[in-house]
């Protein structure tokens, strides 16, 4: 598994913490929503970087008021067909103003990277032998889009207006 963040191949510094695993000192950890709910005080009190992983049936609306505690939100794709997290990512960015890492995990197809990026994901766990090349291909194959999203890319409508 390779991790692409902001278009670059990086070493994953985050530990995906099981629900039963003991809390490590100050290491960056990613916990489940369930664990966040039961151990909220310990997790906040611990002081180290904190991330949360949401299943595809867990909307970020449930943690909207807690987002200040997280540097990372991982959204799960249990199967590439399950597209709920596209909406979740847009809500995180555009509605709740989350500025940390939004990571796509699970069944993440290369062909979906551009859609994900447009929705606000900036980190991707992909299985690929040439992750950077694949990333570049996936996000440059199609270079125009109609829909305004929070990613700041210029839409066709804006380009038309600029052209006059």
């Amino acid at each position: 598994m390779a991790l692409i963040v902001e278009g670059k191949l990086v070493e994953d510094r985050w530990i995906a913490l099981g629900d039963e695993a003991p809390l490590p000192g100050g290491d960056p950890i990613i916990v489940s929503l369930a664990r966040w709910r039961t151990e909220r005080d310990e997790l906040v009190g611990r002081g180290g970087p904190l991330g949360i992983r949401l299943h595809s049936d867990e909307s970020p609306a449930q943690i909207a008021d807690d987002l200040k505690h997280f540097e990372l939100v991982a959204l799960e794709f249990p199967a590439f067909r399950d597209g709920r997290a596209y909406s979740y990512a847009r809500l995180l960015r555009e509605r709740y103003g989350f500025g940390g890492e939004v990571r796509a995990v699970g069944d993440v197809l290369l062909e979906q990277l551009l859609f994900m990026h447009r929705c606000g994901f900036n980190a991707f766990e992909i299985s690929s032998e040439h992750p950077v090349d694949d990333w570049v291909t996936a996000t440059s194959e199609i270079g125009v889009w109609y829909q305004p999203t929070g990613d700041g890319r210029e839409t066709i409508m804006a380009m038309r207006r600029a052209r006059g």
Binding site: S59, G83, Q112
Partner: protein, 550 residues
């Protein structure tokens, strides 16, 4: 018609190249069929019983003569010389080779066409009135709004992996020819008291194994909010629609299980958050798109056309054709001409490459180079001078495209069924063919009058049987095909779902059963009453008696 600008073109061209690389990886064995399947489906390529099927989008049913010629060419060069028009106003080729698909898509891109999103769990082709731009009773041309929706829904980053496919239809006339009430979203234009046009929004209509008529969730949506409102509906559906069961994944089930009022509330709450954002449609943008659909350069003509009246008087065959296949036009001296793709004994919706070429030429000659596809699987020439109708008819006849049966018994909607489709439980085309042969007598056809027969080869209901005045559903009982008959369905502004009349019929009996139903109707109808009106007046009983005598 809409024409691509450099941005639309770039998107489609890039898409073709992307698919070319994907096909190459598949052919080189880098991708397994499992991995390739979602990719090909995003481009309209299905694997069917005998070969690949490629479905080509015809946005809201509008075709230029140039595009139709290209389709003719593709049929000839890459298929068996014909194509099949569908109830989504699209065209399918059923005998396609995988390795040739990139070239086909490249050829299509040359004429601003593609197969994007003609399959898969995302937006499908938005459909509308086949008479758009020509019908006398429209508030506005619906095509502008369809095009606005087309752009917004093409490769939408958030909604390309919905729980299930998603269909939107738009109508701007009081009489609904686009079946908007049986779509995931139906939009019906109305004028409010202030004299402004907007949309009534319906959701959750649809056919398939659990058919529903759509529910109104908003009485009046101002035009500038069209896209934000659609986005709000889709965002609710994308998050809450069921993904655990394919058969419960359409938005109609979500609406039903949530309750219409509560669903509407969820949509309104979401919409409140985004309605004043980037999706607002400035008036200039609506006008810019509408300018593509400006009326063609009509001649100033008299409404009365003596030479046309004379031809009607002297030629009864022409008169018959005019009566059923010609529809009034908003422009004086012009008419809308329907070309029937339902010849006696033929496959509904099939068209040969020769016919396509010929119709393209006729469209250039008589209809400003424009053709429409109707959801009832016929073609339309939308801008024909009344004075030209006779010559048009004379040329259509030898092509087999002048069958005077639009709206009549043999104008059957029919899915491909077991002859092509891997999901089918029974054949549907042969039933349609047999009905049209049984009712090949024009006098009898006209005597019976307006009736809609719709046939599906399985419970997925691609042939819309639930909303046929007479619906036929092909099923399988212990290896034998048998057919369930429903009566009383309708897809227009008075949409209703047909009811099963009783025990099913074998393949040998079903056409007799249809005949019995129609004979019963003729014997009990009031003066001037259409089949559906009689049915609504008398109910099921007389038909049952005829079908199952004690």
């Amino acid at each position: 018609m809409y024409r691509y600008d450099e941005f639309d073109r770039r998107l489609v061209d890039e898409r073709v190249e992307q698919f070319r690389r994907q096909v190459k990886r598949r052919l080189d064995g880098e991708l397994s069929e499992d991995q390739f399947k979602p990719l090909r489906l995003l481009n309209g390529l299905y694997l069917q019983l005998h070969a690949y099927m490629l479905r080509i989008a015809i946005p809201y049913g509008c075709l230029s003569a140039i595009q139709l010629r290209k389709l003719a060419h593709i049929g000839r060069r890459y298929d068996k010389g014909y194509g099949h028009f569908t109830t989504r106003q699209n065209l399918q080729f059923h005998w396609i080779k995988l390795e040739e698909t990139p070239d086909i898509l490249a050829e299509l891109a040359e004429v601003e066409m593609h197969g994007i999103q003609t399959s898969g769990n995302s937006f499908r082709n938005t459909t509308t009135d086949q008479y758009a731009g020509a019908a006398a009773d429209e508030l506005e041309d619906p095509r502008s709004y369809c095009e606005i929706i087309r752009q917004w829904s093409t490769l939408h980053p958030e909604f390309s992996f919905l729980p299930r496919k998603f269909k939107i239809a738009v109508t701007t006339t009081p009489h609904d020819r686009a079946a908007v009430k049986v779509h995931d979203i139906g939009l019906r234009m109305l004028r409010n008291e202030a004299g402004e046009n907007g949309f009534e929004v319906m959701v959750g209509g649809g056919l398939g194994r659990t058919p529903f008529v759509g529910k109104v969730i908003r009485d009046f949506l101002p035009k500038q909010h069209l896209l934000s409102y659609l986005e709000a509906i889709l965002r609710v559906y994308n998050q809450l629609g069921r993904r655990d069961n394919l058969f419960k994944a359409r938005i109609k089930i979500l609406v039903q299980q949530t309750g219409t009022e509560k669903f509407a509330k969820l949509v309104e709450e979401e919409w409140e958050q985004i309605k004043d954002g980037a999706l607002q449609l400035p008036r200039e943008e609506i006008e810019r798109i509408a300018s593509y659909f400006a009326p063609p350069s009509y001649e100033e003509l008299d409404a009365q056309v003596p030479e046309f009246e004379a031809k009607i008087a002297e030629n009864p065959d022409f008169q018959t054709w005019v009566k059923t296949n010609v529809f009034p036009h908003k422009q004086p001296g012009y008419a809308i001409a329907n070309l029937s793709l339902k010849p006696v004994g033929g496959t509904p919706g099939d068209m040969s490459s020769e016919q396509m070429d010929a119709v393209a030429d006729l469209a250039d000659l008589y209809s400003f180079g424009e053709i429409r596809v109707s959801h009832r699987q016929n073609l339309v020439l939308p801008y024909v001078k009344r004075a030209d109708l006779y010559s048009l008819w004379e040329q259509l006849s030898p092509l087999g495209l002048a069958t005077p049966n639009i709206g009549l018994t043999s104008d059957i909607i029919c899915c491909p069924g077991l002859d092509y489709c891997g999901l089918a439980t029974a054949r549907s085309i042969p039933i349609a063919e047999e009905i049209s042969e049984r009712f090949d007598d024009l006098d009898r056809l006209h005597e019976i009058g307006e009736v809609e027969i719709k046939i599906s080869g399985c419970i997925n209901a691609c042939g819309h049987h639930h909303v046929g005045h007479i619906g036929i559903l092909g099923l399988d009982k212990a290896g034998e095909e048998f057919y369930q008959l429903t009566l009383g369905g309708a897809a227009d502004e008075d949409a209703s779902l047909g009811k099963v009349v009783g025990p099913g019929f074998s393949g040998d009996e079903i056409v007799d059963a249809v005949e019995t139903v129609l004979d019963t109707y003729v014997s009990i109808r009031d003066e001037g009453e259409r089949f559906i009106e009689t049915f609504r007046r008398v109910g099921m009983a007389p038909f049952k008696e005829g079908l199952y005598p004690k």
